[in-house]
Amino acid sequence: MEFYIQLLISGLVLGSIYALVALGFAIIFKSTSVVNFAQGELLMFGAYFCFAMVVQYKVPWFWAFLLTLVFSLSLALIVERLILRPMIGEPVISIIMVTIGLSSVLRSIITAIWGTQIEIYEPPLFPDTTVMVAGIPISQVYLWSFGLAATLLALFGVFFKYSKAGVAMRATAFSNQVALSMGIPVKNIFALAWCIASVVSAIGGILIGSINGINIGLGHFGLKVFPAVILGGLDSIVGAALGGLIVGVLENLSDGALKSAFGLQGTKEVAPFVFLVIILMIKPYGLFGKKEIERV
């Protein structure tokens, strides 16, 4: 039993990080209707930049963290301004192809600078001693990561519900043209969406990096976020968060169960996609995705 509780907990932690990255993904999709295939690379770039600060330049963690946020903000702004803004008005499929190209470019830049070895944060961001919670040993890294991810998700929830910019983002998501007629600067909203996505991804990258170490495979994390986002419904931000948690937990539990029952390895990688297919068969718009509102 304890084994499964352990799995559940690590699943929740992983899930909360998925949720964070899925949030970034959903924001871009919602406000600009672009599926961003470079999400995993944004995450990886953030994680590596932080690695460079902490390990290579020995910057204290607090400042390294802030610098990483600033870096990922500027990265998003540059990408948005140079690559995506000229594409406004082009068919969505071309923009999606551009993000695929962007992902390879970012990946190559990372490989060129940092190589492909697994690296770890030294000193670690969070102490890796375990604490006992209700009789179960949990690594502190997990607790901190979960706490940080959950806090950020809650903050963004409040941001979208109540702040002026958040409401404007949701309005832009509904219709760019109508938002324009309200005097909402739609281009700035697009840039803001990319900034948020990039920042949450970078934070996700740092968290996952301090749990598993960072390497070039981190980019696949972006791919794993797909099931989370689609599960939650591509256009729902709450859904993306819950989808992330569900995918994290399911992935860990099924992995553990199959491993102990049949000795099967590697279920982790496919499990989310299997669940995705099953759920989409039952609810084609995802768990929280909206059908178009229809008045009868």
Partner: protein, 264 residues
């Protein structure tokens, strides 16, 4: 207050929609722009509000002046800030947002929080029905309520000039009268200048003081609304009234039909 001077509008560099259109709006008055489908009424409004840009349209000739400043070619958000707000055709409320959030979007260009709160109450005053449902999603409102929300949302920007694109579209006649009554009230109480584009010519000519009639991208007739209402052509083609002030008689229609049969 607003002067549109001899403008030409071209879509996608080739399609000429407005061919030398001129009109002006007097401060504090309701001006109406009438015309058949495809005459270019909505294009005129979009040219004024700057929304043409998002549809690959462009003002290629002429000028649009608002309070003495040339505004053609400016970004829509700048034009909204100057005090021109367009209520687009077909209501276009943000369906996934609730009523209050929709209203807050209308006030996006303002930064006085207290004023915005007050104005939400003001809008609820004009449209009590919106207050009853203020937390429900706009997508679930009825067509009339959505139109009220669209106009209310425009009021939130405290516009000096309100551009209304067919507020009567798809609404029941009784509701149309109510909306028009409120439009008139807004004009009187808030001193908002209004440019009203309509298909419902008889109502529009009743509430407005000055009218323009356009066809094929040009203004073909203009004048004070009392005069337009008396004009023989307007009566016949826009108000459906035949000679002698009666409704067009069925006899004439039949005559026309009979003749056509004879031709074939």
């Amino acid at each position: 207050m607003l002067t549109v001077n001899n403008i030409e509008v071209v879509y996608s560099d080739v399609i000429l929609v407005l061919k030398g259109l001129s009109l002006s709006c007097e401060k504090g008055k309701i001006t109406t722009l009438l015309g058949a489908n495809g005459a270019g009424k909505s294009t005129t409004l979009k040219a004024i509000s700057g929304l043409l840009k998002s549809e690959e349209g462009e003002v290629t000739e002429g000028t649009i002046q608002f309070m003495g400043e040339k505004i053609n070619g400016r970004d829509p958000e700048k034009i909204v800030k100057m005090g021109i707000f367009q209520v687009m055709e077909g209501r276009r409320v943000f369906e996934d947002l609730n009523i209050v959030e929709n209203l807050r979007c209308g006030a996006y260009t303002r930064s006085d929080r207290a004023g915005v709160k007050q104005d939400i109450e003001l809008v609820f005053n004009y449209f009590p029905r919106l207050k009853e449902r203020k937390d429900s999603l706009a997508g679930y409102l009825s067509g009339g309520e959505q139109q009220m929300l669209a106009i209310g949302r425009a009021l939130m920007a405290r516009p000096k000039l309100l551009l209304l694109d067919e507020p009567s579209l798809g609404l029941a006649p009784l509701l149309v009268r109510e909306i028009f009554r409120i439009i008139q009230k807004i004009n009187e109480e808030e001193k908002t200048t209004i440019l009203l584009v309509e298909q419902n010519a008889s109502l529009a000519l009743q509430v407005a003081t000055y009218g323009y009639i356009m066809e094929m991208g040009k203004v073909v007739l203009d004048g004070p609304c009392e005069k337009l209402r008396e004009n023989q052509d307007v009566k016949e083609f826009y108000l459906g009234i035949g000679e002698g002030g009666t409704k067009r008689s069925f006899k004439n229609a039949k005559h026309y039909k009979r003749r056509k049969r004879w031709l074939s």
